[in-house]
């Protein structure tokens, strides 16, 4: 009996032992000292820049057409979901999972797709934008591979409307993070595939084209570099990436436009082309940096 009692007493003690936790006061003091006087950012400007960034989902199509096989290991495992607790991480990874979802959809990997959907839904809830994901509808669509098109459509639409909504709500920072996350993941996938398919010019050029988008992202992030530590550090990484992209040159070759008659209708044809010069070394550099950025986001 006595032994039993002692065991219980011990159990109570251990059960009650709690972790060390910084106290509320200390936190509030820290807030006072670092009274953030972040410069007011013009939402209009941000929104107009955001419009320029294409949906990263489109990249997946390119990947499939390149003939590369579905590689599950390239994606961010939905198991990592629980480690995303801050809005910053949640928004970035929501973007990443969005791209991954698109990737699985293109390859018709429904099983994995559902996992990403769940993760996306969960992150969206965490960011208070859960209303854009009717998990029931999505789940129903996902159960039938024939519905893939509509599923993709819905998801893409959702991302678009989320962006719109966030910008509307004065939470463009999240929107930027969301898009950046998606973009990083897309680039990461492309680089990986491209490095395996050295001959696929289209892929290489696609990577090169990202230079323009990266510039936009850097611009957007720079708006927040004073008010948000996290975004500032991301900006730093992106600037490093920009350094790698700087070696890639995009030249715009202007040619006179010509007019043709197609089916009895006069059409003006743009004959200008852009020439993108990307070396394998450039790809490798970009890949290295993008992987390190992604690892920071994902891990």
């Amino acid at each position: 009996m006595r032994i039993l009692l002692i065991t219980f007493a011990a159990a109570i003690l251990t059960a009650c032992g709690s972790g060390k936790k910084p106290d509320e006061k200390a936190f509030l003091q820290s807030l006072d000292s670092a009274s953030a006087s972040g410069s007011t950012i013009d939402q209009e400007v941000i929104n107009s820049v955001l419009q320029l960034i294409p949906s990263p989902l489109e990249i997946s199509v390119l990947l499939k057409e390149s003939g590369s096989k579905y590689d599950h290991s390239l994606l961010n495992s939905p198991d990592n979901l629980p480690t995303y607790n801050s809005n910053y991480k949640m928004a970035l990874n929501l973007g990443i999972y969005g791209t991954d979802l698109g990737y699985t959809n293109i390859y018709e990997q429904n099983q994995d797709g559902i996992k990403f959907l769940t993760a996306i839904k969960s992150l969206a809830e965490g960011l208070n934008i859960g209303q854009f994901f009717d998990i029931e509808t999505i789940g129903r669509l996902a159960s039938n591979s024939k519905n893939l098109d509509s599923l993709l459509l819905i998801t893409t639409q959702n991302f678009n409307s989320i962006n719109g909504y966030l910008q509307n709500q004065g939470r463009s920072n999240l929107s930027i993070l969301l898009l950046s996350g998606g973009w990083v993941e897309a680039l990461h996938l492309t680089c990986d595939v491209a490095s395996k398919n050295a001959k696929n010019k289209e892929l290489h050029e696609n990577i090169g084209e990202q230079k323009i988008i990266l510039e936009q992202i850097v611009l957007l992030l720079s708006f927040y570099k004073d008010s948000d530590e996290n975004m500032a550090s991301l900006l730093k990484d992106m600037e490093e990436l920009k350094g790698a992209f700087d070696k890639i040159s995009i030249t715009y070759i202007y040619k006179e436009s010509s007019m043709e008659v197609v089916n009895g209708v006069a059409v003006i044809k743009d004959n200008s082309t852009t020439e993108i010069q990307v070396t394998d070394q450039d790809i490798a550099n970009v890949k290295k940096i993008i992987n390190s950025i992604r690892n920071k986001i994902v891990g």
């Binding site: 219980f8 109570i12 495992s77 198991d79 629980p82 208070n128």
Partner: protein, 1021 residues
Amino acid sequence: MSEEILKALTQLFAIITKQDGGVTENERQFVINFFQSELDRDSIKEYLELYDNYSGYSKQGTAEEEDKNKVTSVKDSIKTLGICKKINKTLTQKQKVIVLIKILELVNSDKNFTPQRLEIINTVSTVFNIIKDTFKFIETFVISERIEELNYPDILIADTATVKSADLQKHAHAHIEGSLVFMRVRSVDMYFTKYLGDQSNSLNGFTMQPNRVYLFSHGGTIKTQEGDALYYSDLVRDFNEEIQTTKLSFNANIEEFIFPNGTIGLRDVIVSEGPGKLIGIMGASGAGKTTLLLTLAGLEKPSRGTILINGFNIHTEKSKIRGVIGFVSQDDLLIEELTVYQNLYYNAKLCFANFTEEQLHQRVMNVLENLGLEQRKDLRVGNVLDKKISGGQRKRLNIALELIREPAILFLDEPTSGLSSRDSENVIDLLKELSLKGKLIFVVIHQPSSDIYKMFDKMIIMDTGGFPSYYGNPSRAVTYFKKATHHVDSNRGQCETCGNVNPEQIFNIIEAKVVDEYGQQTNKRKITPSQWHEMYSKQFKVNRVEDVKELPAVALFIPTKLKQIAIFTQRDFLAKFSDKQYMFINLLEAPLLALILAFITKYKSAPGGKEYIFRFNENIPAFMLMSIIVALFMGLTVSAEEIIRDRKILKRESFLNLSWNSYLLSKLNILFLLSAIQTLMFVIVGNLILEIHGMTFPFWLVLFTTSCFANVLGLNISSAFNSAVTVYVLIPLLLIPQMILSGLLFSFEKLNNLISTKGKVPIVADMMASRWAYEAMATYQFKNNEYESSYFEYEKGESQADFNAAYMADELQKRNRFVLENYETKNDSIQKLVSRNLNILYGVLIEEPFKSGLEKINLKEALTLEKYSKETGLLLAAYVEQYRDHYQKIYNHNVSLTEKRMAFDEKHGFKVNVEKNRYHNESLSDLVKNVNTKGRLIEYDGELIQQVNPIFQEPNPDGLMDYRTAFFLPEKNLVGLRISTFIFNILVIWIMSLTFYIALYFEWLRKMVNSFGKVNIPKGN
């Protein structure tokens, strides 16, 4: 008698008889007779030789020897001393008195009282510590052959004479030649008898020799040659003065007793008695014996009639006659788990608060000795299946429980049923003795033996249908019935040769059946009960005993209520603790259930399924519900039988007027203690296995509260129903609604429309302890865990601001737009819609703290169909945009605070993710945030109701007393105060428990159940 003592006695005998002239033939013969009564044939010879040796019987006669004897007499005196001292060490005072009497008789056998002999006898009595006066008295009794010489108050003469032969003597009348002399030795409370006469009477079946002294012990009977029986108890009564001093009157006049089903149980029964009577109640089965007994004892109320004790009405003046009545029912009213001693001890403790422990012990031991139970005092009583003491002992213990407090009137229902004839006789003899001490005793008796039958002072014979058919002297009953039916030998009541009465005869006569022409008995009785009753009414006139207008003397001293609680608790605790199985199961049940439950619900929950992480265990919400159900179940089962089991004991103790409240509180003491231990073990085991950290105390508090509630509920049903089976059948009926309406299994939003209210927990569910307990546990775990407690306030701000900015703003805008478009319509149904929307708008805005831009208009007026204008509409539209902006800012502020807090925590070594894994549970979080709801904002009953994130909402009471909210709100309104749901809900459950306790105290449920029971189902006739 041991060999040693016998040898000592033999020596003593020898020494005395050899003095002054040596042993005579008579004396030797006496010794032989004595040996014969003590020894078998072979040993007699041996001891006789020893005796002869010491007394020098064979060498008797020579002068030489005589001289020598004179010399040795001094030596003998010393020897005597030695022997007496030896005897002193082994014999009790009672036995020593017997030895002394034997010696006196021995000497008396030849009347050879020489000085030397007397001197030795004197020495013996001194060494035996017998007081001189007593010795003289005994000596006179033994020697004297003339009754006139025996002028002592402790002498009783039974003979045919009508007057006393000496002043101080007592006298009894008996049909006997010569006289029987009885002596009472007060110091040892023993009775001796001797017969002076020539008849051959028998004592306990043995012939009494004239002038021989016999011990007249308990249950002894002397039958005279003429057929008279003198009972030990009769004798004791004659010696006793107590009866004369006891003031007691018992007058019952039961005109009618009607059973709840309408049949008549008793009619016209008049009983009138004084103190010191043993009254038997006999009758065929179903004649109403027990009903009569219960009615007389005041346990049943006669439909018409009164029962007065010393002039006090037994029903209306209960407090006056408290403790006067004792009732021994046919059932065992013992606490099976306690020992014989403990049963009596606690009973005594409840009766005599004024006694010290020592006195209590003495009292208990006295009663045990009186009833011959002292050897069994440390045995557990046990039950019928697990027998520890015999049936007779149980019966005696039952009687002892009543006797210990010495009630003036004692009622016993068939105290001899199931007992051997020996035990039966002992029991009745005991009762007889009590009656002789002045008690009035009523006994229902079935098929008594002749001896027992004759021991009663009076006999009440009941006939079928509750008719009394005889009330009077038992022996005369036979003659009465014989006479009534014109039997030939109607004058002879008892057997001529043996003096036995056959009580069976009475019933043979009463129930004699008519014989038909074939000689077969028919079912028809020769004389019906009512005819007997008619005869009875003519023959018997009950003389009413004068009411003693005096409070009956009662030794009762009931402890204070607080003390009663302590005694009850101690007794109950001891009973429970000694029941090893009960303790074992009850203490093991909780940890075992926790083990099973936690073990089964623990799985590799981490994403990827590699390990167990509390955060991802989806079973936690279900586990919490189950632990509440377990607490309820344990609480119910442990208490459900409590009162039923005690009911018999309560019935017995009802005569003591003990505090019902004290009894109940003592029950709660023990049950709450048990609940506390059980729930603590449950929580510890469960939380340890499932790695629920930091919740031991809060979970325990909730479960303990719930279990206590179940305890009180269980006691209620236990008090209301009569059988344990009914109660256990009821348990699911009580538990399943608790499960259904706990809030987890079925969402409160999706219940039958009759009971559900959107946005508030249904009232039916509010009556369930489980729902309060669950809410308390869930909100506390979510809100107060180590992890969430840092962020809760920010998340709350975030959630509410987001809701307003994202949903409420849209909703307001939408409704305003609708109104703006349609306020001028003439269409009735649209008008209705417009005013409904206006109402909703008004309802929201009036509560809204943010009013920038609205200050200038009177909302109440502006938002009506009549006053609404385009300007108002536009103003509102602009306002809503501001409103949205305002909340967006608040939202963003809170978000950034959360972010900063997390960054800050991380910086200070608080690993957010690790802590979250440890303390936060995703499933529970989803549950309290109600994430799966479809409509985040719905319109219900003219109000906009937020469906999502109840855990971050605040109560919005309509009044001081409005406690109702949606499920999982973190705070509640308590008369204007805002307190945490955890505390509020625990309070609610305690209030529920208190209510049930009040119900229990007043036995509302029992009364309700009884009133259902009284509904008569009409019988088709």
